[in-house]
């Protein structure tokens, strides 16, 4: 401190922000991978993934007697 601080690319502040952004990127990337994984497991389990979509979907209609 006391010295005039030059604003250049390698200023501590930039390094800290780059560090923060890198972690945020990793977390978001991890989230994407996780959602993909969950989707895969749900599809493999054969779970019902369809829902109401403003039109008649025969696959959603419960058969009689069930």
């Amino acid at each position: 401190m006391g010295v005039i601080m030059a604003i250049n690319r390698d200023h501590e502040l930039h390094r800290r922000r780059a560090h923060r952004n890198m972690w945020l990127g990793l977390v978001l990337g991890g989230f994407v991978v996780l959602v993909f994984g969950i989707t895969m497991v749900k599809l493999k389990n054969g779970q019902m993934m369809e829902a109401f979509d403003h039109t008649v979907r025969p696959s959603l209609v419960v058969e009689q007697g069930k």
């Binding site: 800290r16 922000r17 560090h19 923060r20 972690w23 945020l24 996780l34 749900k42």
Partner: protein
């Protein structure tokens, strides 16, 4: 103040500060109890879905922690224990803490609903609401019973974990709730006995401050006694067994005798040994919770390996 006083400027927030906003130590307890709730359920859950469910429960708990830090920044600033948290130390603004808290709450509830089911998501949403609004905003500053009701927020995670696996609520999950719910008051009151100057400075009405230490000792005894039947009852459900019963019996005996020792002490004796017995009881309370849930996990592991306690009585 001397001229040697250094005025520390708050440094820019780092990623770790945002992580600290989520109260990682509380989160680790939530992860543990939610995991026990999920794995002791008699339903098999795909490992990835189990992992994701526990993660989203933890994120929800973290979000309510961030909301609590936003609301309680003024209290945290005066208490020694919490002074260095990201908001009171100025590294993260209260508004940022609120934003993080709200959005992580929404994200965790939606994701738990998609990963597990709506019952679990609803319970998680209620837990966050209960901790952030009912406890932090309303009860914490207005009644010395704050801990009793606030304890419910900490007691929900195993229920959420159980609901993530089974899609419902049952006797087992209610008893796990009861175990943490009744354990929380003696645990925190023991802490407040030797940290009371912190709480009184911050104006938080804790029992030792408002009703005195002898009354607190009686309350601790009372809760230790009613905690015992609830924790023992879990042994006779489908998630309990002889292993759990043995662990629970020993821990309850220790817990009640510890509370008895506190009850028989005078404040002068406590001052003289700097609250050694209270500190010991506080440490014991941590062990009490940890070992009860470890025993439940142990019973779950035994069931996975196909081991069956033949003719073990299940009352519920």
């Amino acid at each position: 103040m001397t001229d040697a006083t250094v005025i520390e400027r708050p440094r820019d927030a780092e990623f770790g500060d945002f992580f600290a906003l989520l109260k990682p130590r509380v989160m680790s307890l939530v992860v543990f109890t939610a995991a026990v709730g999920l794995f002791s359920a008699p339903v098999s859950v795909h490992p990835l879905l189990a992992f994701a469910s526990i993660l989203f429960i933890a994120v929800g708990a973290g979000a309510s922690g961030a909301l609590n830090m936003w609301w309680d920044a003024d209290i945290d600033r005066v208490m020694r224990r919490t002074r260095n948290r990201p908001v009171p130390s100025g590294r993260i603004s209260p508004e940022d803490a609120r934003t993080v808290g709200i959005w992580l709450s929404v994200l965790s509830v939606v994701m738990l609903g998609l990963t597990a089911n709506m019952v679990a998501a609803g319970l998680l949403a209620f837990t966050i609401f209960f901790y952030a609004v009912v406890y932090s905003m309303w009860l914490k500053r207005s009644t010395p019973q704050n801990i009793v009701i606030g304890g419910a927020a900490g007691a929900f995670p195993p229920m959420v974990g159980w609901a993530a696996a089974t899609g419902g609520v049952s006797v087992e999950s209610l008893l796990m709730f009861g175990l943490i719910f009744l354990w929380t008051p003696p645990h925190f009151w023991a802490l407040a006995m030797f940290m009371d100057d912190d709480y009184s400075r911050a104006g938080v009405p804790m029992l030792p401050v408002t009703h005195g230490k002898p009354a607190t000792r009686r309350h601790i005894m009372f809760y230790s006694l009613i905690l015992a039947p609830v924790s023992l009852a879990l042994a006779f459900t489908q998630i309990g067994g002889p292993l759990y019963l043995a662990v629970s019996l020993v821990l309850n005996l220790l817990f009640i005798s510890g509370a008895w020792r506190l009850l028989k002490r005078s404040d002068a004796e406590a001052e003289a040994d700097r609250y050694a017995a209270e500190k010991k009881y506080f440490r014991l309370s941590l062990l009490y919770m940890l070992l009860h849930f470890t025993a439940l996990l142990g019973e779950a592991a035994l069931r996975w390996t196909g081991f069956d306690w033949a003719s073990w009585p299940q009352w519920v």
